[in-house]
């Protein structure tokens, strides 16, 4: 099972079936699998904070939901996390392609990519970073369990070292 298949399995194991996302070439390796799988409903959003809103609505009506985005788009979603998810306690797993690290070619991706985890820390939200697929199934299973137990958003940051990234 490769890294993308491992994410799909974790989503299924935790009955998280509505996936909303803003497209990204690296997480496309996961969302393309989701798109082909009738277990899921894949919903493209126009912007990352919209994706957070859709996911919260789905959870509120009884269907667990996760969000996929790139680190640049995390910057678009911060107020949705701060003013909606945290006060209402909504467990939204977020899978973030973390740009701006080793191998990055685009100067514009570095500041936001480097800021994702400090912002999560400032919000008091838990995050994990995956640089390779060692023990990935156990880490994801534990991360999903924590997210639903804590009833707060949780981020899994997927780096270029894991997925190969976007070539210049």
């Amino acid at each position: 099972m490769n890294w993308a298949e491992t994410i799909v399995k974790a989503l299924k194991d935790w009955d998280t079936s509505l996936i909303t996302y803003v497209p990204d070439i690296s997480i496309h390796q996961v969302t393309s699998l989701i798109d082909e799988d009738p277990f899921f409903r894949l919903v493209p959003a126009t912007r990352e904070e919209e994706a957070i809103g859709i996911a919260v609505g789905s959870y509120a009506a009884g269907r667990n939901a996760a969000v996929f985005m790139q680190s640049s788009g995390f910057g678009n979603s911060v107020n949705a996390l701060a003013s909606l998810c945290i006060p209402a306690r909504t467990p939204i797993p977020m899978f973030i392609n973390l740009r701006g690290g080793p191998g990055e070619f685009n100067i514009a991706q570095v500041p936001m990519g480097q800021a994702v985890r400090p912002i999560m820390d400032q919000l008091g939200l838990v995050h994990f970073t995956l640089n390779d697929d060692t023990n990935m199934d156990k880490i994801l299973d534990g991360a999903m369990k924590l997210c639903y137990a804590n009833r707060q958003p949780m981020a899994v940051c997927l780096t270029q070292l894991l997925h190969g990234g976007k070539l210049a």
């Binding site: 509505l18 909303t20 409903r41 919903v43 493209p44 959003a45 126009t46 912007r47 904070e49 919209e50 957070i52 809103g53 859709i54 996911a55 919260v56 609505g57 789905s58 959870y59 509120a60 009506a61 009884g62 269907r63 939901a65 107020n79 949705a80 701060a82 003013s83 909606l84 006060p87 209402a88 306690r89 909504t90």
Partner: protein, 190 residues
């Protein structure tokens, strides 16, 4: 038409529908219209009211109503495109359109300068749209929407006429109570 009168009307005819309300007066007035377990009041996340409603409509087959505002809708026009793309049959969006940002000093919004949200909805592929200016037409539009496959998009032109007291809403409890109408309540330790 006053927003509070329209809100009371919708609350009365909504049956068991989920109602999501925009931050500020829309949520205050929904709260003052009478408590319903399926009211989802918001107090932050400006612009996301109809996105939340879209997510709800894709998680349940039951009717979902969004009580949005022109200023908030303008902040997230993209979600109209998403509604037009997904076309949930059970979603009705009502935009209280006072053509201003009422809570920040009454500055004229874009809908007061020519932006027509009904036309935006039409251009996004939402075919069941209407603009109403009085309670009678609002009641007819919402009643029809409850009985007919959507998505429905209703622009309700309103006049700002004072505010109700801020509702004592607690977001965590709002979500817990709302969600428990769709799923079994969480048990201690689960």
């Amino acid at each position: 038409m006053r927003r509070f009168d329209g809100t009371q009307l919708i609350s009365r005819i909504a049956g068991n529908a989920a109602i999501v309300s925009n931050l500020g007066p829309s949520s205050d007035e929904l709260w003052h219209s009478g408590l319903r377990d399926r009211n989802f009041y918001t107090y932050g996340n400006m612009g996301l009211c109809s996105s939340i409603a879209l997510g709800m409509a894709m998680a349940t087959d039951e009717q979902v109503i969004s009580l949005d505002g022109d200023g908030s809708m303008l902040m997230n026009l993209g979600t109209i495109a998403s509604i037009g793309r997904e076309k949930p049959k059970n979603l009705t969006v009502v935009v209280w359109d006072n053509e201003k940002w009422g809570q920040t000093g009454g500055q004229t919004s874009h809908t007061g300068m020519g932006t027509d949200l009904e036309q935006v909805a039409k251009s996004c592929g939402i075919t069941r749209t209407k603009t109403v200016t009085d309670l009678e037409d609002l009641e007819a539009a919402v009643s029809e929407a409850m009985k007919t496959d959507g998505p429905n998009f209703i622009v309700a032109k309103i006049e700002e006429s004072g505010y109700m007291p801020v509702a004592p809403v607690e977001p965590e409890f709002t979500l817990y109570r709302f969600r428990n109408t769709f799923v079994e309540p969480r048990q201690p330790g689960s």
